[in-house]
Symmetry: D2
Subunit: 333 residues, 4 copies
């Protein structure tokens, strides 16, 4: 049974149905009737006018958003363990033409306003040092922690004061919203977020993420960049259709709730083995190598996370029956 | 009835079926069982050992291949009307970090060995001028002409002599093979081609092209670039499955033949209105604005091509019944 | 006797004296008292408030100016034979992160408003094609022709209408001003020029050009780029001192007049051998290979320019006595 | 009296004399007779065949060397406080097209083999993480510490084992050699260094550093990059002449010794105020704000270094008489 990542799960049947429904001729690129519905659909969800672009991968979505905010000679503040810093092969610097990631620390891959402020304050405002121009946080973080609306707003206030664009990597945004019970608006533009990489692929999608802009001029800047990066699909309707299917009836939130529930079940079994509170669909456990081996011998797949820790990720399609055996095995360690 | 482009056509049902069949959990990225079959499947088709990568768009495939061949300070020889020069928003220069396109002329967007040789000879071999490092041709060309195996080999010989990597943009490679009746091998590595962007999306695919390397070291160089450009999909099996479905039973060739047949039907009706011989699925006609308007009034969609010409593109899913009314309307002009 | 280029001539003694005078400790980079005088000195020359930066080479000056005007996905309109297109190893695309040169034609490497307008009009305003964002002309041109104030203004009008930044490569700006007898203002900002690479090295300088911005926000954008390109010298006062020495007493104009006079002397001797009118310090002659050999046998060095032409360039330090022997040899051919 | 930096000192008179001696016409760029002597002159100094290029600034020299070693998607290991990381406005990532600096820690800005090994070992060898391709150390370091030949060799061994190019930023290389009393060879290629930015500007030069390649193929790769970055001067002889003047009679070493002697004098006066051993021409002192103010009131200029520290840098032209007053003032604190 696989708990190594949610990024390898199956797509939701509704997504595949949507592909079939979109399998007709239409205008190429993003001129089709599905793509043209995205702005309205996401504006409704976010309770404000947004621009919404389909982007095939989270790496591309993050990089395009950041490239729209940060000039080649600027810096992007992020956590040292942020996905953009450690798992994207330098993509943000590629898209933003050499822009530099300026990394900070914080428990569970969370940045605090004080940390961001300290990073900014340590930089001399001259041409010799890379000046910060953007701030990127991941919500939920790489360790499954959720920034609350108040925490986002506090970071947004630093960003505003320091003149930084504010980007949220929401590869697991749905899980954060599901955990917090807040609205998507509360967690984004109301807190000063300028652009959100809204992840769907880990949450039941097949090959489409949404890049949401709360400032329309950023979307305009991204359009030529998307083409230039080979990310403007000729049959874009197949990406748009996936996103619309995920929004339909709140499927995105249902899927995230299901994954979060599974993680909560594991967390309950883990007790004080937990490295971090479980606020999304990821569970980090303290386990000895022998304990890890025992779980694997029972057929559970997962990543070791450094020495003495394991990462378990629950996917949208794993119900209680699928999770319970692992919960019991953890409790029995 | 749409004849404006093959890039907006529906996907073949077998491709959608393949997506459904691949909708199970598997290793992420390109470690899954579909992706791992690509090298063998394309090696069989090309009758030699190749490396085959799925790439979501033709623009990305072209750019990645060229970036693997040409350093940032190098030049890429191509036709002035090549897709990489006029329709990719500078993507090759983005992926290859500023590498320059060095453009030549030739009827129907075809380059000749003499033209390539002349372009090379005109460049002083010093650090002030951009030195050519790669050659890219499109087969079939942007005007629907097919380079023959002998023509490819003659260009390959210039590339070898001049030390140029040799790339083929095969957005409509299938149509060229179908027209020529040769083997894929004849048209590529046997003529010195190092890398082929093998197009499937215009030919019944949904969102996957194949990037074929006849030199394995180029594939190795592309792997980090693909990730860094946000083109490494987490659920890569859905791209691989499309390609395998297109290869299965020669579907790619059947589709191309169907489209070519439709174009031949139009060509027959067009007579001396033809601007170029019809060797793939594109037909360029001389028409007055009034004639163009007349065709449109009958419900046929197509692009004007400069002044006094029209471009008609036939898709894989347009059968004789779909084509004949247009053929008759042309004949009746 | 060398007539191959003005870029290898000696520096004017006043420039060397200025280096010696600046050889004292002062603030590093551009905080010294020489560098801080540049804005005022060039503002006086140009009769308007300008920002003036020292830049060590013309290639860097051109590229920095263009990078400040054109985004990475934009296009820069220039003549096909412009120095930025054929003699800078792709520097503009390096500094501007892949921006593309869009080249036009015209006699003597001169662009006309109609040509610029036609280049713009031929580009579809969509994300697939590289949209023009800047216009660069060379004055005097690579063939020694001078754009008049009226010609500059006509191009400036197209630039304004099309939303293009307007850059002038003035490697031989002094020669153009000397020929035209106009003011520097007439030839630049009064005609809509936004940035000027004002050349001094070919005109008696040692290692300093001036980059003049008529829009201050462009200068602000260039400051981090200059540092990031390794062009912020720690002992910048030695560059500033050269520029100030060249401005002192109009030395820049005296030198250019001297070179132009020499070229005029050669032009007079050349008669109908002239390929282009002589409006600066370059003379292009029709000569047979035998004639060229005869001149070389007499000790004159110069470049062949294609087949049947020779390029002769007069430097600031070649007086009539130095020129006359060549003039007589040409007349005697 | 200024102790804020050696980068603002005057140039040595011999350097200015060399400029005057070079003020004659010669071949442009690096084809002149001064530039053509560089390989031999530096090969003699380094007791092996090297390729030596003049480069106007240390930032450009460092960046060009690193761009020749590291692909755009690779990583460059350096100290977190390395000049390339904190004082070059991202230049290495600009020249190397987005390559990433991977930073380590160590006292006095020194890296150890264990630290480099640990940085490498922490990186998963997959396409998601930036793979290290180069190692850069500064000798003497940014805190005036000298790596010994044995320390360099130990790092060189890690570089070799890990497949990293090995670059030394030698902005104060002369000071390190002067301190260690070893040969330039001992400190570079004998320890595995592939390229050295050999600084002269801080040490009595005016506008020329030397970029030394112990692997000729790296020099070949840099030639087009140097031009493309606007760093190929048309009157390159003026840069070459500076370097030759500095080598002449060991002037570079004499100057460094003089600066080191001054720093030693200050170190002797500073006693246990010293933050780091003084092994070059930089002295870092623990001083209270009041003490710093007292020194400044006496006319001494220097940088505060964080809180409670001061950086004093001695230049080549400051003799004992110039230094002693500061030494006495420090002793009297």
């Amino acid at each position: 049974m696989r708990f190594f990542s949610d990024n390898a799960a199956a797509a939701h049947p509704a997504v595949l149905d949507a592909l079939r429904a979109a399998n007709t001729v239409d205008t190429a690129y993003d001129g089709d009737s599905w793509s043209r519905r995205l702005d309205a659909a996401f504006s409704e969800l976010f309770e404000t006018d947004v621009r919404a672009l389909w982007i095939a991968t989270g790496t591309a979505a993050n990089s395009l958003a950041l490239a729209a905010m940060c000039p080649p000679w600027g810096g992007i503040i992020c956590h040292r363990e942020a996905h953009i810093n450690v798992d994207e092969c330098g993509a943000p610097s590629f898209f933003a033409h050499g822009a530099k990631l300026l990394t900070g620390e914080g428990d569970g891959a969370k940045l605090t306003p004080d940390m961001v402020e300290a990073l900014c304050a340590a930089i001399r405002p001259d041409v010799h040092q890379t000046q910060p121009r953007a701030l990127s946080i991941t919500n939920a973080t790489e360790y499954g922690l959720a920034y609350t609306p108040a925490e986002v707003a506090a970071l947004g206030e630093v960003a505003r004061r320091r003149g930084l664009g504010f980007h949220m990597d929401g590869a697991r945004f749905a899980n954060a919203v599901a955990h917090l019970g807040c609205s998507p608006a509360d967690l984004t533009w109301k807190g000063g977020v300028d652009a959100l990489s809204f992840g769907f692929v880990k949450n039941g999608g097949l090959s489409a993420e949404a890049l949401i802009f709360f400032k329309p001029e950023l979307a305009d800047a991204v359009l030529p960049m998307r083409k230039r990066a080979g990310h403007l699909f000729s049959k874009g309707r197949f990406l748009a259709a996936q996103l619309l299917a995920m929004l339909e009836g709140g499927l995105w939130l249902d899927n995230a709730r299901a994954a979060n529930r599974g993680a909560a079940l594991l967390a309950g079994a883990a007790g004080d083995r937990l490295v971090h509170p479980v606020e999304a669909n990821e569970v980090f456990l303290r386990v000895t190598p022998e304990e890890a081996a025992k779980l694997r011998a029972l057929g559970f797949d997962f990543y070791d996370w450094g020495v003495g820790e394991a990462r378990l990720v629950v996917s949208w399609d794993q119900d209680e029956a699928a999770i319970r055996p692992l919960a019991e095995a953890i409790a029995a360690l």
